[in-house]
């Protein structure tokens, strides 16, 4: 049967092959245990580092592979076949690295990007706070100038790779009264004085990934740790999220494809009423919708990624679309996969049980589905104002 041809290059195909090999050999054998024990996947992080995958999006001059959005989306999609907790750990390091790549000074890029590219150090991105989730402008963590230092006070909540990462990009208020221009972005390193971590959160899914609170208690960092200019914090955060969102869409596609694979195989082999359940139209139609929506998601992500890689600016709308549709698809497909597999789908020994628990977070982090619709809607409003 002909499959959709995305005209990938040989190198892009290599990324897929490599990610799949890591999934088969390293991730699938341990994913249940990591999930069950809420254990951080250090051994697999080492494998991903050895495979050069942490450097995919980083230019060669900083030790990376010089790839773009499509390359990292391919890696995320195919790693997500195995386990999205592990894939999120990997994705969050890129999320922490993007601000440095986009807005870092030459010295900052030279210092931090090679460490992130090699996978020797993980990065993290800290925006969310107890009172500021979707409404990022409500953050209360502050950074004040004090001679040659910035002094940070406050806390961040639910930060992926918290405690495990060495390099943190943190958004903090620098001018309380300046609204959208009142925040700045900083690089904070594990070990900086006054920087500490809360306990690891216990979660519905994504249990092998580490999610922690970050505390800044008169945390003093050198002046040159500010990213970009003072007041650019929210711009940096939004540009970072724009770049990362298609990647989360790709994680959704990988998870959904894996769930479809499980459900379709099971439906062919499970016999009820004297025939394999796939012979029932009700099951076939579910599978058909799953497969079609997955392919549509994939096509959307690859097209958006290629648009980004061609150097387009103002990508907020298309980046939001490339997260919204694929992650909604992922949740729906995971739920339907459990349905098709019946009681077995609800059991821990069945891979889709974890997939369904894991999928939910994709509609929440890096912009909830509602917030993504707000972004798209706002863009439409201004587009149509001009027509």
């Amino acid at each position: 049967m002909t499959q959709v041809n995305y005209f990938l290059t040989e190198e892009q195909q290599m990324i897929i092959d490599l990610a799949r090999q890591i999934v088969e050999e390293k991730i699938i054998p341990v994913r249940n245990e990591l999930d069950e024990n809420e254990e951080f996947p250090w051994a697999i992080i080492k494998d991903l580092a050895q495979a050069d995958l942490f450097g995919l999006f980083i230019p060669e001059e900083y030790g990376g592979m010089g790839g773009g959005s499509l390359e990292i989306c391919l890696a995320l999609e195919h790693l997500a076949h195995g386990c999205i907790a592990i894939t999120t750990t990997y994705a969050a390091s890129a999320l922490g690295g993007y601000p440095i790549l986009l807005f870092g000074s030459e010295e900052q890029k030279k210092k931090y990007l090679p460490e992130i590219a090699s996978g020797k150090k993980l990065a993290a991105f800290g925006l969310t706070e107890a009172n500021a989730g979707s409404d990022a402008a409500g953050i209360q963590t502050t950074a004040e100038e004090d001679g040659d230092f910035w002094v940070l006070n406050g806390s961040k909540q639910w930060i992926t790779n918290g405690g495990e990462a060495e390099i943190y990009t943190i958004i903090a208020k620098t001018d309380k009264h300046k609204g959208a221009r009142g925040a700045s972005a900083f690089i904070v390193e594990k070990g900086d004085a006054g920087f500490s971590f809360g306990k690891k959160e216990r979660k519905m899914g994504l249990r092998a990934s580490s999610t922690r609170e970050l505390f800044f208690d008169d945390c003093r960092i050198p002046k040159d740790r500010i990213l970009g200019r003072r007041g650019q914090g929210f711009i940096i955060a939004m540009r970072t999220l724009d770049l990362a969102r298609p990647g989360i869409g790709a994680v959704g596609v990988g998870l959904a494809q894996a769930a479809l694979d499980e459900a379709a195989r099971y439906a062919r082999q499970r016999v009820q009423f004297g025939q394999p359940i796939i012979s029932f139209q009700a099951i076939q139609h579910m599978l058909a919708d799953m497969a079609t929506e997955i392919e549509a998601s994939r096509a959307l992500i690859y097209s958006v990624a290629r648009t980004i890689d061609s150097g387009s600016k103002n990508i907020s709308k298309i980046a939001a679309m490339a997260k919204l549709f694929p992650t909604e698809t992922a949740m729906k497909v995971a739920v339907d996969a459990v349905q098709i597999m019946g009681g077995y789908g609800y059991m821990k020994e069945c891979p889709v049980e974890k997939m369904m628990r894991d999928a939910k977070v994709l509609q929440i982090y890096e912009g909830t589905s509602q917030i993504l619709r707000n972004v798209i809607g706002k863009a439409l409003n201004s587009e149509y104002a001009k027509k």
Binding site: E10, E11, M14, I15, D17, L18, Q21, I22, E25, K26, D47, Q50, A51, D52, L53, L56, M65
Partner: protein, 262 residues
Amino acid sequence: MNIIVCIKQVPDTEAIKFDSEKGILIREGVGAIINPPDLHAIEAALTLKDSLGARITAVTMGPPQAEQALRDAISLGVDDVVLLSDRAFAGADTLATTYVLAKAIKKIGSFDLVICGKQAVDGDTAQVGPGLAARLNVPSVTCVSEIGPNVSEGLLQLTRMTDNGRDLLELRLPALITVHPSLNDPRVPSLRGKMRAKKTTVPVWGLEDLGADPERTGLKGSPTRVKSTWIPSFEARREILSGSPEEQVGTLMERLKEAGVI
């Protein structure tokens, strides 16, 4: 440090089936892979390279398509490769194989360490490693399950698995070792490695390049003849002893004596 790793391409053992009527392997449609134990040999070389620095050459004797095994080795981090391929090498047993491998290693030049997998999963002889060491006139240690703690350019501390336990050894280099899969966990390839593997032209050495004697290679150089192949059948019999515990122990002792076990 110069390390040579000898690898073999074998049919994908997980996919292969055995035709028990004809007594042959059904190879059609089955992919070829690096002999799984050899992945541990490559990993051992790469680990030494990580700690001491080394140049690693992977060598394989096989048909032209065995080139893929060498490309896979490059993608894992091996520096150089050589394919030993010639019609005259076909049908080799372990004697003829070690002859060709030894010729090739001499042509490569100096080495500190040769590493082989413990055995090939298709032939299962475990003879090539030690046989090759004899031809190269270097000491060999088989079934290595641990390298270290001390490793240097000239000396390796090793643990060897034996039927009765473990031997702790020191091995002066140059030497040959064969490694047990418990030694390490083979790494995954890297993207840079895969790209390099794609671009590499694999050098092929034949009979003449090696200056080898055609009487000693391939089928001609192989005294081993396969008479027949079969899957050994194994029937377990059982017997439940009756009577009081004392009587049962008595009967058991008699049986064991009859069987010559005690």
